[in-house]
């Protein structure tokens, strides 16, 4: 290493400490950086992402979905979709990966203080919401009432099921929904935007944060507008194919904004001023 002390392309080596099979296609990895000092000093904000490397296969971007208030490990939930995620799913405990993190911006946790909060998540979109949700539960006194609407195709497709009871007893409303009736299912049935209209949390002093597949986000945004949420009260995260993750390689731009450094968190107000290329 010569010219520069810091190389943003060089990942930190990390060890997989725990693997949780969330759904048939989603696995959660809990990893620790091999360098103990770096792990201790590692700091980030809810919403920031990391690039995970499988050396020899490549890198992909995932949100750090454990909150900064719980630092025993860094957690990433990975949906099997492409080459890198396929390979990540084949790894076992003790295997070595690379981590470049934290990258990107974060949820405006300070601006949200004193507000009621509404989370609307679908499928793997619950991953970034979980970071913020746990952060808020760890700082419960700073936030008003918290409502979570979380949906997936079927009961088997809901991630973090083992935590639901704990979430509920930590002082929040959790509304779960699946797309179609399923034997033994006692919660709601219907698409997320439909359930949002049923639950209809008032926009009064509230911030809504939504993450999920693009089609769900589209209808959730419309639903929130229907409930008279202002543009600045709505926050979402965007996804783009990324390579460098540091605002250089060029592919994740939407007009002048780069999702990797200016995002992934954007307010609906910001989105409306960007070129329509989602």
């Amino acid at each position: 290493m010569t010219a520069s002390a810091h190389n943003p392309y060089r990942p930190e080596l990390a060890t997989i400490q725990e693997i949780i099979q969330e759904t048939p296609t989603i696995r959660t990895f809990r990893v620790v950086l091999n360098d103990e000092e770096k792990m201790r000093r590692f700091s980030f904000q809810p919403g920031q992402v990391g690039q995970l490397s499988v050396f020899g296969v490549g890198e992909s971007t995932f949100v750090i979905n454990s909150p900064p208030t719980r630092k025993d490990y860094l957690q990433f939930s990975v949906m099997r979709a492409g080459e890198v995620t396929q390979r990540l799913h084949q790894l076992s405990l003790g295997d070595q990966i690379g981590v470049r993190a934290p990258l990107g911006n974060s949820f405006p946790i300070e601006d949200m203080k004193g507000h009621n909060i509404l989370f609307v998540g679908g499928g793997i979109g619950m991953a970034p919401l979980r970071t913020l949700l746990l952060y808020m539960l760890d700082n419960r006194q700073d936030y008003g009432n918290i409502t979570v609407i979380y949906g997936a195709r079927s009961p088997e497709d809901l991630s973090y099921g083992y935590e639901f009871d704990k979430w509920r007893t930590s002082g929040m409303d959790l509304v779960l929904t699946i797309d179609r009736e399923s034997p033994g299912w006692k919660e709601r049935v219907g698409f997320v935007p439909t359930i949002l209209a049923e639950v209809a949390p008032t926009p009064f002093n509230r911030i809504a944060i939504t993450c999920g597949p693009p089609i769900m986000i589209k209808f959730v945004l419309a639903g929130l507008k229907e409930l008279e949420y202002e543009d600045h009260q709505i926050i979402t995260t965007l996804e783009r194919r990324m390579k460098c993750g540091i605002g250089i390689c060029g592919r994740c731009n939407i007009g002048t904004k780069y999702v990797c450094v200016d995002g992934p968190v954007f307010s609906y107000e910001q989105l409306r001023h960007m070129v329509p290329e989602l």
Binding site: T2, S4, Y9, F55, G56, Q96, G247, C249, V275
Partner: protein, 356 residues
Amino acid sequence: MSGTAYITHNELTSALERLSKEMDVWIPVETGDKKWGIQFSKYQPGKAPLLERQSTTLPKKVLFPQVETLLRFCYQKDVEDRSRVTIDLKDLEDMAPAMVFGARPCDVRGFLTFDQVFLNGLHKDPYYAQRREKTLFATLVCETPDSACFCSSVGSGPADQAGSDLWIIPIEGGYLIESLNERGEKLLPKMGKEATQDQIESAQRFQEKAANERVGEGDLTRYVRAFEERFSDKAYWRDMVSKCISCGICTYVCPTCYCFTITDEMKELEGERLRSWDSCMFHQYTQEASGHNPRPTKFERYRNRVGHKFSYFPDKYNGMISCCGCGRCIRSCPVSVDIRQIVRQLKEEAGDCVST
């Protein structure tokens, strides 16, 4: 004029020979039995630079190689615990100092775009930074613009010295080399003996003539808003790029195109993470694993190219256009897409625009 040196035509190769003892000297030469046109390659004894015409490809690769190694990695068995596999990781390596001799102002100006993105952003790119620091540019004042050139339309010109360390002016019998900064000054003694007053005056006349030359029609630097207003006019973009075949050559020959991809290559237990030139003209460039593609057809992709150079970049970087008017995209395009025309027509009434 600051420090000068005079090199006769006959002495040019021996001057390059002297320089090449200390650094990689990149010169424009005819390649592949003249089949591949003029390209920059490292000086080899006896090889003279071809300075009379603009090079076919540009010296972008000197600071930004077409393929470069970002990391080397190796999987190893832990000596203490044979069931454990560790990874040995190496990154940035030392790069040799270099000089680009005989590029044109437009070729060198392209790196000012690179500097904004690779050096002045939130994260600094150490690979580019090292090469930038170790590379000098001896640039040739341009006297041979052709019909595809439009450097004056984008705020540059045939005598634009931005980004250069040494300046080459053709005069009677050879070249006058002028230093533009301290780095350049240090190399002058290796290049030739000091120029005479007559030679200096003759070079000054040449420089002034080039500086007064206007290459290209009109001003293409004020299209930020016009682009935004046209953004959603799908018919315009479809019409403008209907003939584009998405080959990507416009991006490969472009001095300001810096987009890249990162891929891993591996053989047995060792591998490399490589950075390679990529092109926003390719479908895969923005293709996501989910199947979603925010720029699914060539019109969205070409629109992004125009936007990036003439609207997004100046919007973000204080009016700076990310195009140097070298004209290579126009010259190289197999179906004659002309970016000048597409930019100019942004301001015309919808319906009046015709692609030729």
